[in-house]
């Protein structure tokens, strides 16, 4: 049996990574994510697992790429500025098609921004932060318990699809302690990368016959040694660089297809009181918890409102959002930024119904009252939901 614990989402992510089979961690300190390596540093040596604090954010994700390429489940964790620094190597992991989990505890930006305060400003960066065409999977849990479940799922998806997965939490969620259940590995579904059944001499890391070619551990559990080449350049089936237009197009399209053909497995979302809803709130992460309260309150007054909560932000649940747009009168996207996922929802809704935003990038959580007001009066701009008295306590700005 697993354990009950009182944890914040950072510690929860660390615990869940171990449940999922984490074999290597490398990181660099950054607020508000540092509890992840702090907790792992207490447990990983005891379990005989390598744990490293590297010289910078870039080194830490690169060390993870090294570990995962050789056959070990790896994770790194960071926040805003560190996520920017990791982008190039995140793209390398996409290109090599190696499993990797990158946790980004979103804090206020841009630049150094608000190190100790929550935001959801890295949603688009998670999708398009690294250069070039590439697919990405990004997950967004709404509380510590879900952070445990979603971390395990992040590892599973990464291993199954040879794909880096970004786990987006935020500075508030990551420090909010709640009661959680940490399952034992036996209690959950754990996916390990498929080891090829072909012998090493006939193995190709990018075999044209697969949508997701098996990624051989360099030193397989059965003692076989798979020597092959992985390159961050556009490559052929052997992993060797090529500029052949046919294989280039094929590779990039396959990388997209392995995600778009498997949306059933990758997408995850929640419908909350949506059955008869005329207004749909789209919210994710911490903001979804505020939306839930606002919806309950509005429902008591007979307002037909519900929530669509994507747990998988990328790829976006297009079909589901389209379906909602055909049933409701308006859509409200609530998020702690100036309108990022809003753009994606607008794109998918395609002008069928009006899309409004509750957009706050003030370094504080969106309050239920702000969402409630928006439900009542969608076209009115949502103001910062703090009284003058409350604002005074933050100091500064005079």
């Amino acid at each position: 049996m697993g354990r009950i614990a009182f944890l914040n989402a950072n510690a929860a992510v660390a615990e869940a990574a171990l449940v999922a089979g984490l074999g290597f961690y490398a990181g660099y300190p950054i607020t508000p994510s540092s509890e992840v390596p702090e907790r792992l540093s207490k447990i990983m040596p005891e379990k005989g697992l390598p744990f490293m604090m590297m010289e910078d954010e870039i080194a830490s994700i690169n060390a993870c790429v090294g570990a995962t390429s050789s056959g070990v489940k790896a994770m790194t964790c960071t926040s805003g500025p560190g996520f920017s620094l990791k982008q190039e190597a995140l793209g390398m992991a996409c290109m090599l098609e190696v499993p990797l989990v990158v946790v980004n505890v979103m804090r206020g930006g841009p630049s150094t921004g608000l190190p100790t305060r929550p935001s959801q400003q890295d949603v688009m960066q998670a999708r398009w932060g690294t250069h070039g065409d590439h697919p990405i999977i990004a997950l967004s849990p709404c509380n510590a318990q879900e952070a445990i479940f979603e971390t395990i799922r992040a590892f599973n998806l990464a291993e199954k699809f040879r794909q880096p997965v970004v786990l987006l939490t935020d500075g508030s969620l990551s420090h909010l302690h709640t009661k959680v259940y940490i399952p034992d590995p036996e209690e959950v579904e754990i996916v390990d990368r498929t080891q090829p059944d072909i012998d090493p001499d006939n193995y190709y890391p990018y075999d044209y016959n697969y949508e997701v070619p098996p990624l051989a551990k360099w030193w397989a559990d059965d003692g076989k040694s798979y020597r092959y080449h992985l390159s961050s350049l556009i490559h052929d089936k052997t992993g060797f660089p090529t500029v052949n237009p046919k294989y280039t197009q094929w590779l990039l399209e396959r990388m997209y297809k392995k995600i778009s053909d498997n949306l059933d497995e990758i997408l995850k979302y929640e419908y909350y009181k949506m059955d008869d809803a005329e207004t749909c709130i789209v919210a994710y992460g911490s903001t979804a918890e505020a939306a839930r309260v606002a919806i309950d309150q509005a429902r008591e007054e007979g307002v037909k409102v519900g929530m669509f909560r994507p747990l998988t932000l990328w790829p976006s649940p297009e079909e589901q959002i389209k379906d909602i747009a055909s049933k409701v009168k308006n859509v409200i996207v609530a998020e702690m930024n100036l309108g990022q996922y809003l753009l994606e929802v607008e794109r998918v809704v395609g002008g069928k119904v009006p899309v409004y935003g509750v957009n706050q990038a003030a370094g504080v959580l969106i309050r239920p009252s702000q969402i409630y007001d928006k439900i009542k009066n969608p076209s009115k701009r949502a103001e910062i939901g703090l009284t003058d008295e409350e604002l005074k306590r933050f100091g500064g700005g005079e």
Binding site: M1, F24, A26, A63, S70, L96, E187, R227, Y228
Partner: protein
């Protein structure tokens, strides 16, 4: 006995990508000879490289190979070595790749003394991108970005590595393959971080701009900067100005190697009866473990979504 190089190379990937007169092939040959003399199995060897001409080596050698992004090969290698301490891990790369953009990783790998052998092909130039000047381009030498000659001072990579704490530091020369092989072999055998800085000619992108397009002439020119460690002992400070000493420059047999140090830490941690040791082993107390019912769990997670829990997929 002659070495069968084809044993170590992916012959289907030939011909090599390098220009005529390039030193990379000589260095690779020395390196393969060293591996062969050590009798190491290809199956136990992993090689990482970044981006650049020298970094293309990983495509040709029949090891576990990883061709990564510019400057980060040593960090990638650290991840592999820490995950597989019993395997041999190497890095091949150029001066622009490993010292200029990737300098921070080099410094800290030296400090950690992690058992990775780095062969640095130092050709004084960014060769692949067309001859831009790097941190090792001699002052006054012309480059595509220094048409009037470089005005920047250079770095002595070996001094830096010694200062940063590398266990084994040597400098070799592509024009002296017999000694180079010995230096590489000693570096491979060394348990800890080994850096072999190899002066190697780039006649196309360094030489031609500096009236040294003839590979033999360029080798002679490079050699004029080099002094053997034996000879250097007899030279005074003034005479050594602007010179680079070859041979084994530093070897520390006392400094602990990183994966060995981590192994000690693991053993201590596992033997300890402190809180976190018990926590990790799951032997804290029986009270630490609860039987939890579906109903109780549902209170913790009241959402209408699937969980990874086998027993209660949907709570």
């Amino acid at each position: 006995m002659a070495v069968d190089y084809t044993k170590y190379l992916r012959m289907d990937k030939m011909p090599l990508y390098w220009c005529p007169g390039c030193g990379d092939g000589i260095v690779l040959k020395c390196y393969l000879e060293a591996i062969d003399e050590l009798g190491w199995s290809k199956d136990d060897c992993a090689m990482v490289s970044g981006i650049g001409c020298a970094a293309r080596v990983t495509g040709y050698v029949d090891f576990h190979t990883l061709h990564t992004i510019h400057g980060r090969a040593i960090a990638v290698a650290a991840g592999i070595k820490m995950s597989h301490p019993d395997k041999h891990v190497f890095v091949f790369g150029g001066d622009g790749d490993l010292v200029h953009i990737g300098g921070n990783h080099l410094v800290h790998a030296c400090r950690r003394n992690i058992d990775v052998t780095v062969v640095l092909i130092n050709n004084w130039i960014y060769g692949m991108t067309g001859g831009q000047h790097s941190c090792t381009t001699p002052p006054g030498a012309k480059a595509s970005t220094a048409p009037r000659g470089s005005y920047e001072p250079t770095i002595d990579v070996c001094h830096m590595a010694i200062g940063a704490g590398a266990g084994y530091v040597a400098r070799g020369f592509a024009g002296d393959p017999t000694r180079l092989k010995k230096l590489i072999k000693e570096g491979l055998e060394y348990k800890g971080f080994a850096l072999i800085d190899v002066f190697s000619p780039c006649p196309i992108n360094f030489g031609r701009r500096n009236r040294l397009g003839d590979p033999a002439k360029l080798l002679e020119h490079m050699k004029s900067f080099l002094v053997s460690s034996a000879k250097a002992k007899r030279m005074n400070e003034d005479e050594l100005k602007g010179k680079f000493i070859t041979g084994v420059l530093h070897k520390d047999t006392e400094k602990p190697e990183l994966t060995a140090a981590y192994k000690d830490l693991i053993e201590k941690a596992q033997a300890s009866d402190e809180y976190w040791a018990k926590y990790a082993k799951g032997t804290l107390t029986e009270d630490d473990k609860y039987k939890i019912t579906g109903e109780e769990l549902k209170k913790l997670y009241p959402y209408d979504v699937e969980t990874p829990l086998k027993e209660w997929k949907k709570l």
